[in-house]
Amino acid sequence: MLRRTETRRDALVPAACVAVLALVAIGAVLAQLLPQLDPLRADFQAPLRPPGPEHWFGTDATGRDVFARTLAGGASSIVVAAMTVAVGLVVGGGLGVLAGFARGWVDALIGTLLDVVLALPGLITVMVVVTMVGPGRLTIGALIGLIMVPAFARIARSATLTVRGQEFVQAARIMGAPPLRIIGSEVVRCVLPAVAAYSFTAVTVAIVAEGSLSFLGFGLAPPTASWGGLIAEGRTHIATAPWICLAPAAVLCATVLAVNVLGERWGRSRP
């Protein structure tokens, strides 16, 4: 009895998480395609309308549809998160594998450089750089990714060291496998899952960081919709028009929750 409910819950929770993320993704795409969901189109006659059949999540102070803006904010988060993971995986993963495999002075050099990045106050650094190069989804994603490079690299490096010392890699060397093929086929195949597991964390960090930046006014330039920006915009109306703030906040939290839960499952499922 107990076991059955456990199993059902085991299947249900990830399914719900996937559903949340799928909805966010579909919404993000629809917001780009459907003119009814234009996140920028304002109805000047209808500012601060509460949620209703016409505007599911209500309208904001300018009369823009909060639902459309929330969906479009999802697109921003997806782009930023994808960029973060891409930069983290490629730069961090690459440096980590290189450091772990080469060791010696290469390792020390990479380690020192990563320490420098680690020593930078992340949010402040991103704020400074955003101020100087201008805000944009890809820029912000890449910056958050760069800030996360040390974490990716550390994981990739330790996974590489573990794999490198493992007997099956030694066995491959003894069997005459070329070193590059060993890196390619043996190490990367084993390092990738560990790094991929961290990508879930990176996605949540990216979404939250982008939100925080937008909230602080250093994020995506309005009128581009971003969850953090929407919350910041809606914050001033929280007593009178709470939907402006609450809708994106709820979707943001639900998305991060879903990614967190899926990440934990993924981490647990690996041998």
């Binding site: 920028l40 189109r41 304002a42 000047f44 500012p47 601060l48 102070a61 300018t62 009369g63 823009r64 101020t131 805000p135 006014g217 330039a221 309005p222 009128p223 910041a232 915009e233 914050r235 001033t236 109306h237 929280i238 007593a239 009178t240």
Partner: protein, 503 residues
């Protein structure tokens, strides 16, 4: 002379002021209760109390200055000046001015504040070393001297009817040039003196025993630095502060709805400066098309939440010079016609900083212009970059929200060619001459007429787009008494000595 307008321009952005038709504030009934502490939430830190420092002269922080340095004059109803430390400032020719002080004034250490102290003060601020924005204004003074203990004479380079208004701000906030308080802070002659300052968080002042006017009601005033508008309002809501600076329309609306005492004035004008030197706005038809395509009523509704009024031109609706400028109507058809005449598709970038209302305004305008076929991109920059761009004329259109229009005498100067504040390079020599003529005109009626003409020309040439006059001011908890009715003012002038708390 035109420079001094520019002078207040950048600061004015951070000030943001101006009033809507508001119900008179109602506080606790009965006579003022003496004693107690009033905590006031303001929007930025005041780290330097010297009146030479510009940060103390912003509208939100002026309340601090008013506590420490009672100015010679303050802004009164309908643009009139109310004498405070001064008794009068008069001139026959608008060039030579005679200041007469109240007798027996002292600084808060008991040392005398005489006419020589005023002259010394002005001299100090006039020196560019002081880095006071008022240095530019004071530079108009070619000669000054103390005639006796309570009389000082000022001679200007050119006649200027707006000269007395200079003494409502820094030039009028007399600080001792010889003595300093025990803790090293500058000495003023205000109703309160500095008790303690906690960097970054608060400033505490207590009633000054040497103040010569009607003493303040409250024993102690605490100024809390709460930069975030919403946080500040929440602090008011939670009772952590008794009085808070509010400058967003929805909070003003909310404060009214929640029964707080609201003292606001339509002190700031939202405008956009168009760069008439370069394409596309070197073509007056494009400027007029843009002007016609923007629905100011809609902006008032969505950006200002209906708080405030539509701006009709460079003369504020409550200015003593108000004369009913005829601003072109919202007319998309006319815009399209004008554009058709131009022939080429119009596109431009609109520079703005990232404050929420600015963003909202920009996106609304973007949509309005889009509806008539003008492509407008929004270029969001931070305040520092915004200032640089404005100063360098590095923009096509740039948002400019300012309280400078509160001083009609001063502000019209920016429409003269080559004026420092003429950021968009608007070059209509006739307007320049008219402004000169008006400011030197001793006859007030004639001046009004000339100013009206200037305003009309400006509105028709559209070098600047006028959107709305927006309110800002203070909201107070119901137990705060002495809140002024600012609804008929152009400047937010809150005198802390008049405040009292019923608790």
């Amino acid at each position: 002379m035109l420079r001094r307008l520019a002078a207040s321009a950048l600061a004015a952005v951070t000030l943001t002021a101006c009033g809507a038709p508001a119900a008179a504030p109602s506080g606790p009934s009965g006579p003022p209760v003496p004693g107690g502490t009033i905590t006031i939430g303001i929007n930025s830190e005041v780290s330097t109390l010297d009146p030479a420092a510009n940060e103390i002269a912003a509208q939100a922080t002026l309340v601090v200055a008013h506590a420490l340095y009672e100015p010679l004059f303050t802004d009164g109803p309908g643009g009139a000046l109310e004498p405070r430390l001064a008794e009068s400032l008069t001139s026959e020719d608008l060039r030579t001015w005679t200041l007469s002080l109240r007798p027996g004034l002292t600084f808060s250490d008991g040392s005398p504040l005489d006419a020589q102290a005023v002259v010394d003060h002005v001299a100090r601020l006039r020196d560019p070393e002081s880095q006071c924005q008022c240095a530019q204004l004071a530079a108009e003074i070619t000669d000054m001297a103390a005639a006796d203990a309570t009389t000082a004479e000022f001679t200007l380079a050119e006649p200027n009817a707006g000269f007395p208004r200079y003494f409502t701000r820094q030039l009028g906030m007399i600080a001792s040039t010889t003595a300093r308080a025990d803790d090293g802070s500058p000495l003023g002659a205000g109703p309160y003196r500095l008790e303690s300052a906690a960097r970054g968080s608060s400033l505490t002042v207590v009633r000054s025993e040497h103040y010569q006017g009607t003493p303040g009601h409250a024993d102690t005033l605490v100024f809390q630095f709460l930069p975030d508008t919403d946080s500040r309002y929440q602090s008011l809501a939670s009772g952590a502060v008794d009085l808070a600076w509010i400058d967003t329309p929805n909070l003003i609306a909310q404060a009214r709805g929640e029964g707080r005492i609201v003292a606001v004035a339509n002190a700031s004008t939202a405008t956009a400066v168009l760069n008439t030197r370069t394409e596309p706005f070197d073509d007056i038809r494009v400027r007029q098309a843009v002007q016609a395509a923007i629905d100011r009523e809609a902006l008032l509704a969505v950006v200002d939440q209906g708080q405030g009024v539509v701006a009709e031109g460079p003369i504020l609706s409550r200015s003593p010079y108000a004369s009913g400028t005829r601003h072109p109507e919202f007319d998309p058809e006319r815009a399209r016609t004008l554009l058709a005449e131009v022939g080429e598709p119009v596109s431009f970038a609109y520079t703005t900083d990232s404050r929420p209302q600015s963003m909202q305004r920009a996106t609304a305008i973007q949509q309005m212009l889009g509806d008539v076929g003008i492509t407008m991109t929004i270029d969001v920059v931070d305040t520092a970059t915004w200032g640089t761009r404005l100063y360098d004329g590095d923009f096509a259109a740039i948002e400019f929200v300012t309280s400078a229009y509160a001083d009609t005498d001063a502000v019209l100067g920016i429409f003269a060619p080559d004026a420092t504040g003429n950021f968009g390079g608007y070059a209509n020599p006739e307007v320049g001459e008219l402004v000169e003529q008006g400011r030197g005109s001793v006859d007030e009626a004639a001046r009004r007429e000339i100013y009206a003409e200037v305003a009309q020309r400006v509105v028709e040439d559209a070098p600047v787009l006028f959107f709305t006059e927006s309110p800002a001011g203070f909201a107070a908890a119901p137990h705060i008494g002495g809140m002024p009715d600012l609804s008929d003012r152009n400047v937010i002038s809150l005198l802390p000595s008049e405040l009292w708390t019923a608790r």
